[in-house]
Point group: C2
Chain length 230, copies 2
């Protein structure tokens, strides 16, 4: 079904962005944007991105290389010298996987593209609760970014960042994904591996806990599936 | 002379950023950031960047490739299919050389780097008056971007964008450059050529008018030097 308004959806290839796309698909013609920034599992994420885009029959897709974020460093996601720490779901610390101001870079790219292809919305699957340690996933950050876009684009341009899952936990995201028939079997979340998900990194832990709390089965293969329900 | 606080200076290689560096040099230890985004005169700008960095004996320098801005297109600066229009110093239109949300992308890069190298300031030589058509060079845009950085970086991070020449005209910038002994002979502004500046593109026209109004000699070679004083 074609919708008259166009939205860019930031699709990493993970669970949250896949469900975000399923939400955007209800009301917008979608354009998919994927960003490589030197993350360890870049190839696997790219495959997930393309398979999700194929699923939704997306014509306009753009992959952008922001590998300067790796050059700049500072994160275990991009710097092989920093170890990936085991999951700690109860820590208030900024995690080592934090890429400094990553979402600022990604949203700037999206805003440039949105202005050129006349998209009115930018959907991003940021989640405030599960990633409380990432300052650039907070609602206040996106609100401030909307102001920047309003001030930094042509007067006739109307672009708004939409964060439909920001106040949800992983359980709710998994449930909504099932409700909307999102292709969760095509997604990839693991920070560590590219073939079989490790099951123990931050990203696997949050994801698995969401499926476990929802009482639903994660269609991905895992090396190890700890019980994360307490 | 070493200063205790560190500032990133965005150095395109042009006049404005060179004078901005001369201003920052008075109070900060400088790190220089240069961005390639597929602009036509990229090689020439890089040479200017490195020569200005050598002049100021800069240890920390970073060149970042944002060539996705060329892929995204929409500007005569990066899209060979869009002609560079002759200068019109009195137009209120957004010029064809506008790269959509370019400064959003550049400042995001700078913010990531600043967080990693612990720089407290980001100096950018944006000028509101001469480039009234570029929405991402307005004071309001930088003010909004400071809010985004405040919200999107670690709580202990203090990074502020400084725009020392934003309310100046080119005449004032040229005069300040001479006053601070900025190495204007090393700069490059022309959008069109890499050997001898054309003298007629927007960028040459604004620059030449500044020197002419200040009654000072532009040390660069030009193909053509129209009188821009009226």
């Amino acid at each position: 079904m074609m919708h008259s308004q166009k939205a860019i959806v930031l699709v990493s290839g993970g669970l949250d962005s896949c469900v975000t796309a399923a939400i955007a698909a209800q009301h917008y013609t979608m354009a998919f944007l994927h960003v490589n920034y030197g993350q360890r599992t870049e190839q696997r994420e790219m495959r997930a991105f393309n398979e999700i885009a194929d699923h939704y029959k997306i014509d306009e897709r753009l992959t952008v290389d922001l590998s300067h974020l790796r050059t700049i460093g500072g994160s275990s996601l991009t710097d092989p010298k920093i170890a990936v720490s085991p999951a700690n779901l109860h820590s208030d610390q900024i995690p080592g996987s934090y890429v400094p101001f990553r979402n600022g870079n990604i949203l700037s790219t999206a805003a440039s593209w949105a202005e050129v292809i006349h998209a009115q919305k930018i959907f991003i699957g940021a989640v405030e609760e599960d990633a409380s340690g990432y300052p650039d996933t907070r609602k206040a950050f996106f609100k401030a970014f909307n102001k920047v876009i309003e001030n930094g684009t042509k007067p006739e341009t109307r672009i708004e960042i939409i964060t439909p899952v920001i106040h949800w936990n992983k359980k709710q995201i998994v449930e909504e994904g099932f409700a909307l028939n999102a292709p969760l079997q095509l997604t990839w979340s693991c920070y560590q591996n590219e073939e079989v998900a490790c099951g123990v990194c931050d990203s696997c832990a949050f994801r698995l806990r969401g499926f476990q709390q929802a009482g639903l089965n994660d269609p991905l293969p895992y090396e190890k599936i700890p019980d994360y329900r307490q």
